[in-house]
Amino acid sequence: MDRLTDVAQLEGWVPARFFWREGKPFVDWCYLGAQRFEASFFEQTMGKCMARPFNLLFRHQTPIEVLEQWQQTRPGMNPTGFIFHMSRCGSTLLCQMLKAIPTNVVISEARPIDATLRAQFTATETTDDQRISWLRWVVSAMGQPRLGGEQNFFVKFDAWNTLDLPLIRRAFPDVPWIFLYRDPVEVLVSHFSNRGAHMIPGVLTPTLFGMDVQTAFSMRPEDYCAKVLASICSAALQYYPDGGRLVSYQELPQVVPESLLKFFKLRCSAEDLASVQAATKRDAKNSSTTFQSDSQQKQDKATDAIRDAADKWLYPIYEALEAARELQPAVS
């Protein structure tokens, strides 16, 4: 399918993946049907889809421009809010709470979204204007109503997408956003038990975080990880006055019902609020237990190398975030 000849062709389909063919960006579409993005991450929903034999053999593969036609024929919901975060700081819990309201759609760390934002690393001639268009198109395709009755649409980005805030703001100047962060030692301890993609030089290019490849590989891993997190946090601190709000892990979970729902201009019924509260009773990654801060356990596990790296690269910026957060006016 080079062009969309019939709107019905993509009804119920979702961009599962971006790929490059002969230097041109393509979309791999997967049939999702009337399904909610229930899982914690977009990739988990896609993984479930791919377990169905039909989806293995039948996927539309189209040039990226078909996304634009799709947006024109079937515009998705306008995003209600964006969630940025430093990783390992409670963003999954926050999304589960938003998702607890049945009319909210939450897309979490979708690879196709990240791929549009990082397209210039794959094809260096990609311009910012192209990335902005692609991002708008793919977000529109993700924000399609699938069940009927959906009202709000949230996108949680990958941690490193925070660095692209200026471009994302150009694409979506009116969408309010938050940046969630946590005590640096606790974040580092979590990564050192199971490192995220951005914490391994080479999985994501170190140039994304302002480091050259050689320096990156010669550094102690603790220092590399701390520097990556520092660059993410600095971006948030620099850009938050433009439509953003800083949120600390320590404020979870009550900050959601008490101020974030209002910040995102959600109108909630008493029932909605009860559902949001109930979601805190489930730990984001272990649904049988109530959410409890595990700061103390994380602090106890910190090695000297982690503490040194956090002190050197992260605490100054963390303290600046804390100071800025305390100066934020209450949400009215």
Partner: protein, 268 residues
């Protein structure tokens, strides 16, 4: 050898029942195997050797050819049902085991799968108190489903319920189209399958995949099952029906390759 298998067709039991209403009570004739049952076991033919509505048997009149009976004219949904089958039909009958009746244990040796024949059962009316045992296993058949049953194995039926049990029973000739819907153990039971293997054609499968992406109806049908084996049968069968010849092994290979590609999708 598989003793029973549900084919991926579903018919509308309501519509079949409204066809039944067009048959008057005096048209039903008693089944010829009188030694096998107690109570009331009757039938009407919609297609039979010689074309008579009352001819339920095939063996005893082997000199006559199969022809539609006048009753088929009156039964539009049966006609529609039969049009699904892209194979030569032999006899087509409604068989009724009245409430309180039973068919004693017996085997039907004349149903020769190896001779290239296949008998299909489509239940029209039944009830939970029908007990059908095939090869000592209780088998439950629901209205509108379509079943292959190996009746050369010992089987018996007791209708202990208050309602009649009526099946549409279709005898047909095995061909490639039909084989496409059968599990490999069954489809592999004759030499025809040997030539099937020669039909392996990944290119044909590729073309069929492209055709499916343009056809929303085919997509809907293929999404009906998430079970890998029945999906492959459905895929091969639908392909055959539309003139795309590829084997179940081609489908297996393609699915494995896609799975691998999906796992490796981020490695560029």
């Amino acid at each position: 050898m598989i003793s029973r298998f549900k084919l991926p067709f579903n018919f509308d039991p309501e519509a079949l029942r409204s066809d039944l209403d067009r048959i008057s009570p005096d048209e039903w004739v008693t089944h010829f195997n009188q030694d096998y049952f107690e109570g009331e076991w009757t039938g009407v033919a919609l297609r039979s050797r010689g074309g008579s509505t009352r001819q339920l048997a095939s063996q005893s009149v082997a000199q006559l050819t199969f022809a539609d009976t006048p009753l088929l004219e009156r039964c539009p949904y049966v006609r529609k049902t039969l049009s699904t089958f892209q194979c030569t039909l032999q006899s087509v009958r409604f068989l009724k085991l009245a409430a309180g009746s039973q068919i004693k244990e017996h085997r039907d040796y004349d149903l020769g799968f190896k001779e290239g024949q296949l008998r299909l059962h489509i239940p029209v009316t039944t009830n939970p108190d029908v007990q059908f045992f095939l090869d000592a296993h209780r088998v439950e058949l629901r209205p509108g489903e379509c079943w292959y049953l190996d009746l050369s194995l010992p089987h018996w039926v007791e209708n202990r319920g208050a309602d009649d049990r009526i099946h549409l029973v279709i005898d047909c000739e095995l061909n490639e189209w039909l084989r496409g819907f059968l599990p490999p153990e069954l489809a592999g039971d004759s030499e025809v399958n040997e030539s099937d293997k020669n039909f392996s054609s990944p290119e044909e499968l590729q073309r069929f995949r492209q055709a499916v992406l343009k056809d929303l109806n085919l997509q809907r049908r293929l999404r009906e099952t998430d079970d890998r084996e029945s999906f492959i049968r459905l895929l091969v069968g639908l392909g055959r029906q539309l003139g795309y010849r590829f084997s179940a092994a081609d489908a297996e290979d393609a699915m494995r390759a896609e799975q691998q590609a999906w796992i490796e999708r981020w490695i560029d």
